[in-house]
Symmetry: D3
Subunit: 248 residues, 6 copies
């Protein structure tokens, strides 16, 4: 059940049976020579909708642009500053908490969002408390990174071993190939690929990772793999969501 | 050509032939008992992609949540504060201007975004100038509201007359029916519908417009109408975009 | 009745009979070779005081510096950023709403303020609601641009036709001549005057409009015209104000 | 020479002979049962214009609303938060410094502004440095409180002794009577007047100072006194301004 | 070598041989019935000074108050909001980067700071880049949590097993006992201690963890243990710091 | 009684007998060729703890970095912007006020903090009022600058006369020598020392005060003097604190 395809009266009815809502968040950033700029948003959105269908939960529109400052030396990358993303999350949740939602399940497609999201959750709890919103002290946020699901990680290791890498990975590329088979890209990939450097600023990142990949070989990706990743992530995160909803 | 389905090297190539980019912006807000909460984002996104295809232009991911504070007394509505939306637009454009984009064409689906977007453009020009970005003084933003296209307006009047109203209108509902025929909603609509009141805060809005509609009869909408509106808007805005790109 | 010439006990008494207050807002920006930098503030202030006298309403001090970022490449222009002006308006109205005012009538002298003011109103409604101020949900703001009064527009067209232009117009210059006859300026004006360009950043504006005028011939202005404009605007806006006060 | 009565070309010419500008700042706040709400702005503006005339210096429009949070429990008082006033001052000076002004002489009418202004000066120096504005490191701000002029203080003590008090003082009331003789107010003043309490929040202030005066007897004020104060302040601050301009 | 015990000329000399600096960050928050409110700051500061001595590195004053919003329902806890802590870190590093420092090694004593610090690093890299500070693109930040050192973790497990818990742990309490033996506290500790709940807002935290401990038994702590933890952490983090300094 | 060496239950007990708390604030900034960069924080912290001991009052951790923007052209200096320091103070006091503290006594070691602190107090009163914190309208802040104590000032004049100067003064250097006798620095001091210039931006400050001193001769300082200053300040400020606590 998608929020943008619902009416407000349907949401009103939904709130009678559930205080939970799923919020997909991705990023708009380079993913190497063959990865889509929207990879992280595409994955998060597809999986979130899958989880929503599997659990009969409402899913908000996707936060398409996240915290990707370190990718902004590559054209087409877009980013919010962490403090702006915190503010955005705070306002999203304030709108929803005023309506009665109290369980926010973020399905995230981008490692670079994690720290900022955790900070945003803390800031939001305090903010809602300041606003004297009823049930403010019952609001809970949960961060669910699809790429860190145990089942997903296991399959990626089986299929790709060390060539999974940590950015523009074959697993996420495969998932986008499954979702957008008409947008599978071909481009020469150097055999050597940088890996293991810590992440600092944007210019530094591009110096260290000149084609944008971090230790990955996305040429291994196939749409069929993508389907497998999708199904594993939906299954595992559906369980997580239901556990979250059912917890005290 | 959609940014999220492109690679960074494709964007690099694109920038050699064009400094222009299209940014769809909608809203996530109640649209009456039968209108989709995502109506404004759905319309803006669909038309933006149509314009992108027609003009061979790049289209960014959609800004799904806009300035809808006055709708937030209806469940499911989400909003940024104007000053946060200004900050978001400023950071989007800073990312893109650093990469070399200088012509930003916003295709907007929500009247409530207009003032904030204009304010954001002014603040962005000054900000880019402060950052000493090359070509900062060549950056131009254009606001294109699909629902204010002459051709769209004319058809809406022909089809619906006064029943077009000004929120949850049959024209925008029709467009969403065309895009999402599987999400056409049925619900009883009172014959009387409030209209003509100015817009102030959220509680006041809900008092004046109890079911969310502003003078409209969305029951008149059909997917076929939606197709007509879509095609008119794409055609008119494609011309506008090309004129914008070609201007000094 | 001017706030700055009143005592707090007079304001207390005033509030027993009226919740309305008039807020003049102008700008401090170049107005071509012969227009005063304070033109927009002078006009807004004079008319606001006239309306205050005619309707027995309280008038606040003038917001002298508004949103004029696009004029700042001309010396003497001053501007707030839109987000700062939003903050300022929010704090002005918070002070006044706490005291019991609920109807805010902005008499505006500068087109560049319009978008930011509308954004500020929306942000203020939500802010007052967050503060739990009594009657927060009854607060209403109205934007009244004197230069867009029907009667003013009609006279400007009659007197100046196309030479009215859209910045440093003879109508606004005339009004300042009426208010400050000792400050009528003479300077050579090129016969050719730029017009029709959209407004972007400050450097761009000065390139397109090298002497600051936008399609206008302020040499046509006379103090006598100014008196006429003044009287028309006061009359029309007084009616608007009373209608606003009397509305639900 | 007043900025709002000048043209941009006159300012351009002015800058060839002087980098200095005078900025009046007041407040909009209760001044006891007989003092005008605009007292601080009226005094600052009148004196600033006097100094401008005496020294041939440019004077900006007055900052009418300052930092008066502690007065906001009295109706009609308006205030900016300190951090907002800092931002406002920063943007005023950024506009002016870009045009070439480097010496900013604030003539202040309100003790409550002093701390915030000093903080704003420090923040502005650093901000201008960040913007890489030419001559940023030559920018200087000076705070001149008319009510702390030695000559003014001396006369107030002579005329009023301890009845001068520290808010809604006869000296400032006298000055407003001189400037606005048609707005001299009469109201009963209790013989007892609170004094000597430190200033904390707004509710606390009103509890301690129930009629708004702080130890003062404004009934002693006369327009003739006001003229004397005006002339002393203009003379002393004119000397200060010239010394400031002439300093390294 | 401690910054606060150095002169500016000593710092100037230091910068000729090293671009590195150590920044201790703790928190001021409840640590159960027997743990010191300053535990996290005390540990971070002591270890940072130890590392500074061992590596001849400069150590800044400690950031004593961090991100502890979830502890603020217990008296004595203090917190910054995440967005404020980001701003603080940004300004600290801007001051230091302007002087020539480029390697910032944060020794952190509080798990709740981690997300915000990572977000702050990202925001700082982008900010320094905007300021055009020389070497901005060479700035690197590293987060070193003493309690996550492998050697520390191993000893804690050996000494305390599951009774280490995750807040008000015997290991951190032991370290404070070593540093402040005169401040060892005694208080009855319930045998049952809550554990395993996720962390949300402050009121929720206190409901779930009524005495402030999270699964820990701080009664096991001794100053002798503290000495061991101190020495292990100093040794391991000294190696980490030198590796960081020596890296590309 | 130091907050960081207390437990939350001790604070709970403390609040039953006192609503007061002492907050030391210093700065991290150059203090000439022989003064410690931490001078202002060291002095404030030592004296605050002395006052805490003498009056049985709670003392928070020290705010080590204050408003020292004008010193940032000297390496090792660190500063917050005034608006950031205001935000920090506001959040510190919000944490403490929620717990029940209402009397905040700031012991300050740096003249440059004074304006910002006063602004912060005003902003905090209004903020607490907005948050509807119980007793918000009873919150009081007091600024106590140890270097402005009458007894301190008198001794400094006796010992050093004009060589006290106004920055890197022998009195503050002496106090640090008393607290940290192992960190007494020796460096050649020019006989001539700049003095009497107003303070503007950082580059300007360094031009005018090339070695960082302002009219002072810190070579006159001795640890014995430091002890005297310490004792005088503790005695005088203890009285001030008790008077503050006892006031209405």
């Amino acid at each position: 059940m998608q929020l943008h395809l619902s009416t407000w009266t349907e949401v009103e009815t939904y709130l009678e049976r559930s205080p939970g809502i799923i919020i997909p968040i991705g990023s708009t950033e380079q993913h190497g020579p063959t990865g889509l700029i929207g990879t992280d948003a595409i994955c998060a959105e597809a999986i979130a909708r899958g989880v929503g269908d599997a659990t009969n939960a409402l899913v908000t529109p996707t936060i398409n642009v996240g915290m990707a400052l370190h990718h902004t030396a590559f054209p087409g990358s877009m980013s919010l500053k962490p403090s702006t993303l915190i503010q955005l999350v705070k306002e999203y949740l304030t709108s929803l908490a005023r309506a009665g939602f109290t369980r926010f399940f973020f399905i995230n497609g981008h490692g670079g969002n994690m720290a900022t999201l955790k900070a945003a959750f803390a800031e939001t709890y305090a903010h809602l408390d300041e606003l004297n919103i009823p049930n403010a002290d019952r609001v809970q946020c949960r961060l669910a990174n699809w790429f860190m699901c145990g089942s997903v990680y296991k399959l990626a290791k089986e299929l790709y071993g060390n060539e999974e890498g940590s950015h523009a990975t074959p697993s996420e590329v495969a998932l986008t190939q499954y979702v957008y088979p008409e947008s599978i890209k071909q481009a020469p990939l150097s055999e050597e690929v940088a890996s293991g450097h810590p992440i600092y600023g944007a210019a530094d990142f591009r110096r260290r990772y000149p084609d944008g990949r971090m230790g990955s070989n996305p040429a291994l990706a196939t749409p069929e793999h993508g389907k497998q990743f999708y199904e594993l992530a939906v299954k595992e995160l559906s369980n997580n969501y239901l556990e979250f909803l059912g917890s005290e």
